[in-house]
Amino acid sequence: MMAMSEERSVGRMALKVVGTAVLILVFAYSLGVVVGASEALLEGRGGPARIARLAVALVSVAGCVWGVIYLRPWPRRDEPVAPRTRKANNLLLLSGVLGGVIGVALATATISMDEPLAMFSNGPIAPAIVVPVLAVWLLIVPLISWQWHRSVDEHEAEAYRFGGLAGLYLYAFLAPAWWLAARGGLVPAPDTMVIYAIVLGVWGIGWFWRRYR
C-alpha cells in the first residue's frame, strides 16, 4: 500500500516539476514586462495600453508566485534526501534561478520593442545586457552543469543521456533538412534559436520522461 502510494507520488512530483518550470518561464517574462513597462511609465512614455500591460504582468507575477507555493515542487520536510541528491537538486534550482535572471534581463532589454514576444526575436540588444548575460552563460552555467553531473545518481544520468541522444538525433535530421528546404525555396532561412529551442525541448522531454515514467 505504502509502495503503491509512493509510485503515484513520483508521478505527482513529475507534474509539479513541469508546472514549476512553466511558471518560472512565465514569471521571468512577466517580471521583465513589469520592469520595462514601469520604466516607460516613469519616463512619461505611458499610455492606456502600457498601463494595461503592466497590470496584466503584475497579476501574472503574483499568480506565478502563488502557483509555485501551491505546487510545492520540493521534497516533504520529513522525507530524507541523500546528500548527493540534495546537492543535485540545489544546483538545478540555482540554474533555474539564473535562467530566471537571464529571462528577466532579456525581457527588460527588449520591452521597448513593443512586441509581446520581442524577447525571443533576433532584434538587437544593448551590449550592457548582453555582456553580463554571456558571462553568466559561458562561465557560471558550465561550472554548475559540471558540478551537477558529478552529483546526480546513475538513474538521472541515464535519463539525461537518453534525452541528449534524442535531441542530438533530432538536430542531425532537422538542421540539414531545414537548410536544404530553404535552399530549395520551400521555407525561410534556418533560424538557429528556433532549432535550439526545439532540440532543447525534446532533450528535456526525453530526460523528464525517463526520470519520472
Partner: protein
C-alpha cells in the same frame, strides 16, 4: 529484470526515501529499480546486496533460471 527490492524494503519498514538515503541515490531511482524500469549498475547492485546482507543473485533475477 525482476528483483525483490520492494519486499526487502517492506520487511524493514523503510520508505523509498529511506532506502534511497541509505543507497545515496534519489527516491526516483529506487522507484525505477523496484518497478523494473531501471537496471542498476554493478556498483549499485553490490551496494544494495551489502545493505540487505544478501548476494546479488538473491535480490535480482534476469529470468534465465
Amino acid at each position: 529484470m525482476n528483483n525483490r527490492l520492494k519486499v526487502l524494503r517492506a520487511e524493514r519498514n523503510w520508505s523509498q526515501a529511506e532506502l534511497a538515503l541509505r543507497l545515496d541515490v534519489s527516491r526516483q531511482a529506487v522507484n525505477a529499480i523496484e518497478t523494473g524500469k531501471h537496471d542498476p549498475s554493478l556498483p549499485l547492485a553490490f551496494r544494495i546486496a551489502r545493505l540487505f546482507n544478501q548476494s546479488i543473485e538473491e535480490i535480482f533475477n534476469d529470468g534465465h533460471e
